[in-house]
Amino acid sequence: MTIADVQEILHGTCICGEDQKNREIHSACGSDMMSDVLAYVKDQAVLLTGLCNPQVIRTAEMIDAYCIVFIRGKKPTDEMIELAKERNITLLCTDHRMFNACGMLYSNGLRGGVPY
């Protein structure tokens, strides 16, 4: 699956990082608690979250995720978009809620990866 596929499956929009949309992704994680993301993540390229503040971008940076999907119609601020651009992180937005968004990706073959 590529980032472009994620966008299509989630009927999402791309906020920045269009140039990375052909990058392959093999696993994802979904959480609104960034400490949980940091605790249990390993090689998850995509982070789905309903949290919308600059720490989401920084958390993605720390775990080497290169795509963030904001769920429930959340829209990143200009400051967050700038941070993401500097770090080569693609930002997508979808109106779907967490459970459905994760389920849609899972049923299309994306998995959560192994625990750290």
């Binding site: 605790a39 720490q55 920084r58 940076e61 775990i63 400051e79």
Partner: protein, 140 residues
Amino acid sequence: MSEVKLSYTISGEDFTRAGEASGDVKSKLKVLGVSPEIVRKVSIALYEGEINMVIHAHGGTIDVVISEKDITMVLADKGPGIEDVDLAMQAGYSTASENVRALGFGAGMGLPNMKKYSDEMNIDTRLGEGTTVTMKVYLQ
């Protein structure tokens, strides 16, 4: 590789900037050619520590020394100190405010995560004076 030293002052005022130092350390380690797995361990441990400093201690200082055999991180603050270190080390225990939780932290995973991603960790804390956390990640 000769020894590399990095120093940062962490502002306790602006939560949105928390993580800048950890991000900078991460990019420097990458340039130095440190393996991605080690870079991630150091970045996450440091990032959690940096967040803790901002949430609990009004900022502080971070000193990182990268030697041939390990990476040492010293996070020092003049905050309130930790009343019960054993309790603070328990996953899920947190004294963070609802406000902090709304920002995605304060799940009681900060110190446990720091221990998890470092090879050695020592906490020196005095109530009313401050806390110094020293973490080491082995390179060999």
